[in-house]
Symmetry: C2
């Protein structure tokens, strides 16, 4: 008995080939590299596929070719606005390519990351994008064994697994705090939440800038490992104020915290920046439209996602970028909330 449309009711490549009057392998080539066919056959296969409504079986393709067309992406949070921009860049850049994105959420846990990495291993992705540079030794080992291009994003540092796209959080925060110092502020507080590695590096930037200006005082620091939120910004700022009532500025580890601080200032009738200067980090959309507009450090999040995918895609094609570490930098967006202190 002829074997035909055996189990599944799906159209197979063989059917298409038969209708087009070519061998299955020629039909197969049509879907992967149409230029290799003569125009006449190309035409025939195309119309046969359309007529039958053929949909290639990805599992069979992956099994036969020993590779997938999936790029794995590991991010630490789905809630944080920062990552939605990165993701948008990632999805945008992957569009049009044959590759699809497989997203996983580590929830800021390097152990979860390790586990997810092993899960990805089973999929043999064509490429990988991971957040940050603080993987466990085990995670690094898995990545190195994975034999596919890997981009670490959000930060840059020495010793990339493969490629990196990011910027120096420490330098960026250093610039932010130095700006406040230049504007004449002296008692500059720091408010931080979540305290993931990037937040810690930003805190490092704050510390170095304060020390460089001989203004460092541990009482000016208010951090927590609680996940960040706007409300939390207000709470932390309130705590900070009760400990150090003489602060004249706050550098916030991110923009959500900064907005929370602004609201708390409004609640206490502290004018910004006259009574309290505020600076945020990331330059989310609301920073410019807040009242007063809030100074922040713009980070190129969308571009980071885009570049990471572009680099991974190029590497898959064999074109590893000459320089594996790309620094996307940052821009200090000076706004009213950090206007110079009155003399």
């Amino acid at each position: 008995m002829e074997r035909k449309r055996a189990k599944s009711g799906e159209i197979r490549l063989t059917e298409v080939a038969k209708l087009a009057g070519v061998s299955p392998i020629t039909a197969s080539r049509f879907f992967r590299n149409p230029e290799a066919l003569s125009p006449s056959k190309r035409e025939r296969v195309a119309s046969a596929a359309k007529e039958l409504g053929y949909v290639p079986n990805l599992a069979a393709r992956a099994l036969a070719s020993q590779r997938t067309e999936v790029i794995g992406v590991l991010i630490p949070s789905l809630t944080n606005n920062v990552f939605s921009d990165v993701l948008r860049g990632i999805y945008d850049a992957s569009e049009g390519s044959r590759y699809s994105i497989q997203l996983a959420n580590t929830r800021y846990s390097i152990l979860q990351e390790e586990q997810l990495l092993r899960l990805f291993q089973a999929q043999k992705p064509a490429g990988l994008i991971v957040t940050g540079i603080d993987q466990t030794a085990e995670s690094r080992a898995v990545m190195e064994a994975m034999n596919c291009p890997i981009a670490q994003i959000m930060e840059i540092g020495p010793d990339p697994v493969d490629m990196m796209v990011g910027f120096s959080h420490q330098d960026a925060e250093f610039a932010a705090v130095s700006h406040l110092v230049t504007q004449g502020f002296q008692r500059i507080g720091f408010v931080g939440a979540q305290m993931d590695p990037r937040m810690q590096r930003r805190f490092g930037g704050y510390r170095e800038a304060m020390k460089a200006a001989s203004l460092f005082d541990p009482r000016l620091i208010m951090t927590t490992s609680v996940p960040t939120s706007i409300t939390l910004g207000g709470t932390l700022f309130a705590d900070l104020l009760s400990r150090a009532p003489d602060i004249d500025a706050v550098s916030c580890g991110n923009d959500d915290l900064a907005l929370g601080v602004l609201f708390e200032c409004q609640r206490r009738h502290l004018s910004v920046p006259e009574d309290m200067a505020i600076i945020g980090f990331n330059d989310l959309e609301f920073m410019a439209s807040a009242v007063p507009p809030l100074t922040s450090v713009r980070t190129n999040r969308y571009e980071m996602g885009r570049s990471a995918v572009t680099m991974v895609l190029a590497a898959i094609e064999g074109n590893h970028p000459p320089e594996p570490v790309v620094d996307l930098g940052f821009q200090l967006m000076v706004r009213q909330s950090s206007s110079p202190r009155r003399p």
Copy 2:
């Protein structure tokens, strides 16, 4: 010559089986249904797999079993905070199950949705979650042909493709506007952006509530198809004010717009709610901590994502829920921004 670790350097199931001294099929069963093995063999296979560091080949599994362990998810935006909550629910609920999430972004385009749906078709997902109820006829046909559980989320309506989890945007907005009416406001404006189907239904709720109170006036409406943002809220509100300077309240199609309106009020030194009441939609985190706290309609976004996955998972196991349409409702969160109008 013996065929062994043929092309790829990967460990195969056969190797594990050999080391464990069982047949490949028994080893296979170990990974899918360990309870079916006798304790001794289970033990042997487990240790053999561990020793060799075996990772199952998902493509081969999918090909042989004619199904995948992927749940496809279609959402219209990665930027909108609303969807990050839904996504969090989706990812949280899928964790622990064997299923992984495949996310795709339609960018509010039903044509893009159609295309992505066809792309998903090729993957034969085990389940599908799509946003909204306004698919094209073509999309519906693809979904119906897909032969897997499908949940439509965010909204509810008649004629589900399979299952639905959501709430009535029209009823929710109706409740919001009725609340403003009850509080004594008369010239209630509406500000809307993006104008996707859900925003349009919310607008419908506004219109009905205003008509019911004999307060409807087309000059009170300011909408645009431009994607939503906080800044846009301010702009639209400014436009609205110049057209209808006598408005005493604004109902915003979402919270971002509401925050933009609040900022614009602050800029113009309009007190909220004395000069202008504000009400938002979704109850994002910042609504409660704004100054003054902003009234909003809480929607159960996280729960929506969770339920959708739970229902799809159950349906995959053959337990379709008795009631295919689940209404998660909404709660009016009354805060200071809609305090009663002075007599």
